[in-house]
Point group: C2
């Protein structure tokens, strides 16, 4: 068996059966194996960023890795931004990067580059298969590494000759590492903080923002009066009717500092201590005020939900019953804008929906109007590198074929990885994309003032406007095989959204709206 086949079969043996691929010559043996190994599903991407972002979305929803197949160093480069986001989401992702044959590297052929160095910037685990005999075991090790805990990007570099040479064998799955239980001392520290009668908050992130974790945290809050906050950009947050609403920490440091103001104890549960997204002149980076004690209850590799439940038990807190009644806003009327779109989404969001949210400034009203919608998952831009939303939606739709996916996209962000639309059309995935077209990098308009760049004028603002010319997203969508509309009113938008959600296959709705900034 050649190394490439051993690798693919070993991935399948380790339950990795989807590969988001943008292959080249060095990956032809991997590709050729797809006929011999029908258990592996290949999903073609036109651009590597779509493939790596899809693997992130898949990993977040399935809690098991997909593979992303990339071509040499430049292919990895094209996939790097969404691997950066995946690193921050702690999704399990296996990246397979084809390389030149081992003996060919010395010749510095045109596509030769330092793959290992580039991979290191996003991967906790990197290995280079050097013999076909190792390819299978290396694949199994990559899967185990990707699974963590916490989930991470594991990169396996596969030279072409290792892939095409005989000698490989299928490796069994490696045993997965369990999450670590919370230590008694840590639990005691959290109990002490929560019993101190001083202002205390739990900041929740990672694995905790699902029903079980949220319910445990809510019971603690009810028993102790502690506040609950969620990290700013959760990889996956379960929301909707019956699940207690947890306020997210604001993106704007000024607002986040306000949320944290007056706290004497901050207990971190599967997240890190809050810092400003960017630095701003004269403003603190660390958002925790002096005099507030920070306690890490559970980090990325820990059983954070179990820790919360133990904590609840220690505190004698009763698990909250279902809270909150389903409540949807009325369908909006009148002018189309960020608020009416949020109302329409809140009115129509289907049961079990997965929302990939990269609406950025235009998404301001979404949390409020969707809180009482039926149960759904909300996926956000974890690493701050825009161009994640459409690929994540693609991956989530592959991971959960029975659930509707809604991609909420700022126009500027959508343009980094718009090629994901084509993969949605090719796979006929049930993804509805809403483009919030305000024709500018609105957040940069805001940031320009926040960083104190006050001397700017028309020429600077032109660098933040993505018009003229106006971009026509309905034409772009149709070009990629996705039917699209551009409704002119809130009523028309709502009707289009209802239809898109009801019909199978991908749809895109372009909403041209005034910018909030």
């Amino acid at each position: 068996m050649i190394g490439g086949e051993a690798l693919v079969r070993s991935l399948v043996a380790s339950n990795v059966d989807v590969v988001f691929a943008n292959p080249g010559t060095s990956e032809m043996h991997f590709v050729a194996t797809l006929d011999a190994v029908p258990e592996m599903r290949g999903v073609l991407a036109l651009f590597e960023g779509a493939a790596t972002g899809a693997a992130d979305g898949y990993g977040r929803m399935r809690e098991a890795p997909a593979a992303a197949l990339l071509h040499l160093g430049p292919g990895l480069g094209n996939g790097l931004a969404n691997l950066h986001n995946a690193r921050r989401s702690h999704a399990p992702v296996v990246t397979i990067v084809g390389d030149h044959a081992t003996y060919h590297k010395q010749y510095d052929a045109p596509l030769e580059s330092d793959i290992d160095t580039v991979a290191r910037s996003v991967s906790t685990w990197i290995r280079r298969s050097t013999r076909p005999e190792d390819a299978g075991a290396d694949a199994a090790a990559a899967v185990a590494a990707a699974c963590g805990p916490p989930g991470q990007v594991a990169t396996l570099i596969l030279p072409a000759d290792v892939s095409w040479s005989e000698g490989g064998s299928v490796a069994p799955p490696e045993p997965l590492t369990s999450r670590a239980a919370v230590r008694a001392a840590t639990l005691d520290a959290a109990v002490a903080a929560l019993r101190s009668k001083e202002n205390t908050a739990l900041l929740l992130g990672g694995t905790v923002l699902r029903e079980r974790g949220i319910r445990a945290a809510s019971s603690i809050a009810a028993a102790t009066g502690a506040e609950l906050l969620a990290e700013t950009f959760p990889a996956r947050a379960e929301r909707g009717a019956g699940i207690p609403v947890i306020q997210r920490l604001a993106y704007l440091a000024e607002m986040a500092a306000g949320q944290l103001d007056g706290l004497r104890h901050l207990i971190l549960v599967d997240t890190t201590s809050p810092v400003s997204f960017f630095a701003y002149p004269g403003k603190p980076s660390d958002l925790v005020s002096e005099g507030c004690e920070v306690t890490l209850l559970a980090g990325g590799g820990d059983d954070a939900v179990g820790a919360l439940e133990l904590l609840a038990g220690e505190l004698g807190a009763n698990l909250e019953p279902e809270s909150g009644t389903p409540s949807r806003p009325d369908k909006p009327t009148g002018e189309l804008g960020a608020e009416s779109i949020a109302r329409a989404i809140g009115a129509l969001l289907p049961e079990g929906a997965i929302v990939s949210d990269e609406a950025n400034t235009s998404g301001t009203f979404l949390p409020t109007f969707t809180a009482g919608a039926p149960r759904h998952d909300w996926l956000t831009l974890t690493g701050g590198s825009i161009g994640q939303g459409l690929p994540v939606a693609l991956g989530a739709a592959i991971a959960c074929p029975d659930r509707p996916v809604l991609a909420l996209e700022a126009d500027g962000s959508a343009l980094y990885t718009l090629q994901a639309l084509w993969s949605m059309a090719r796979e006929q995935l049930d993804v509805t994309t809403v483009i919030f077209t305000n024709r500018r990098y609105a957040i940069l308009r805001m940031e320009l003032a926040r960083v104190g760049a006050t001397a700017s004028g028309q020429r600077a603002l032109e660098m933040l406007d993505i018009s003229p010319p106006d971009i026509d997203f309905t034409a772009l969508a149709r070009g990629f095989g996705v039917p699209a509309t551009r409704p002119a009113s809130a009523e028309a938008f709502t009707a289009d959204l209802e239809r898109a959600l009801a019909e199978p296959g991908p749809h895109l709705i372009e909403a041209v709206i005034p910018s909030l900034f």
Copy 2:
């Protein structure tokens, strides 16, 4: 003066007055400076790969660097593939990557990543400005480094606080390094080979493939009977009526080995010894046969054209007069295909055109039918990372506003960096794009067999087909603001091309053609 302004003014002082930009928050002070420094022209890109590829195209045509402004590690990642190509083209490129404020990095904010490591894979020169006092001098040093010789990618990392803090000053240009003259011993070795009466060829690349270098090489060939060959993927080759035609070394190793077969001496002039683009099972990577002696007359940093002229003098060769008469093919008729398109381009290519050629397999007939067209420059895919052609066309059009630009694009390749079309529309550049739509990664169909992946079947081939669904490039072009047509015959294509070349501003013609593979 703040560091950001010192940097921009120092770039301008060093004659860098164009920045291809896709900025974010960390680059807001650079952007804000554009109003104070009107000499610097900002060209906005919707995706970083368009910006870095444009800087490559600009550098190739202007032989002086433009800057590419990128946002943190992920922005550099998105630009990496075309920086890889730029590294191979030896175009001078200054990359400015904004980073978090120096004191903010410790907090591992979401967008924090290892920029230096990623930059190292494509940049010969990397520096991190650490004080506003240094920003101007660092910019001047980056320009000098980018200029080489040979040209290279120089990356300057600019922390946000260095950019926004006072203390900067404008730095004067650094003196540029001259190209090194050829050494007497090297010249003697080449003379001996050329006088040996044994089969000898000169392989020309880099700076040599312009009129002066080609003419010197041709005179040597005429005087000695030596063969002339050009490297496979020149960064810039001057061609057309009056310039001797130099055959390029074939992409396919089998064909290239045939071209080199029987040689006893191979003299390299501003290029490297020929190797196979990829390795193939059982085939050699080194294309030079045993018994052929390789002599490097001039490398990347040397005055290669001067060396050729000295060599011609030593050999008593007379500089060739203008050779070749202008000859254009007739306008094609009948079915549209790779050959009829090449004929149409040969019939219509305007004087002084710049051709960015990423037609790949569909470009097979182009060299033949354009050899006798009026004088033009031909830019190719230097580093093998597809998605270079449209950005290079964008950059060339900014570099040479008075020259028509023709981008010849394979459909699969165009889809990596299609966002470049929007920048062409925004700047109203005179770029005509021809998309060769064969709806597959045709080269991979060929490579699948060449690497011996013979067991492949339908599922493998589906990974090489970019249909279904069919991609509609006219819709995509219109979506980005570029008028587009899809002619159905050779006559209609020719008419559309004639109109597109005659009208100012960008145009796109989609040619749906049978695949050659």
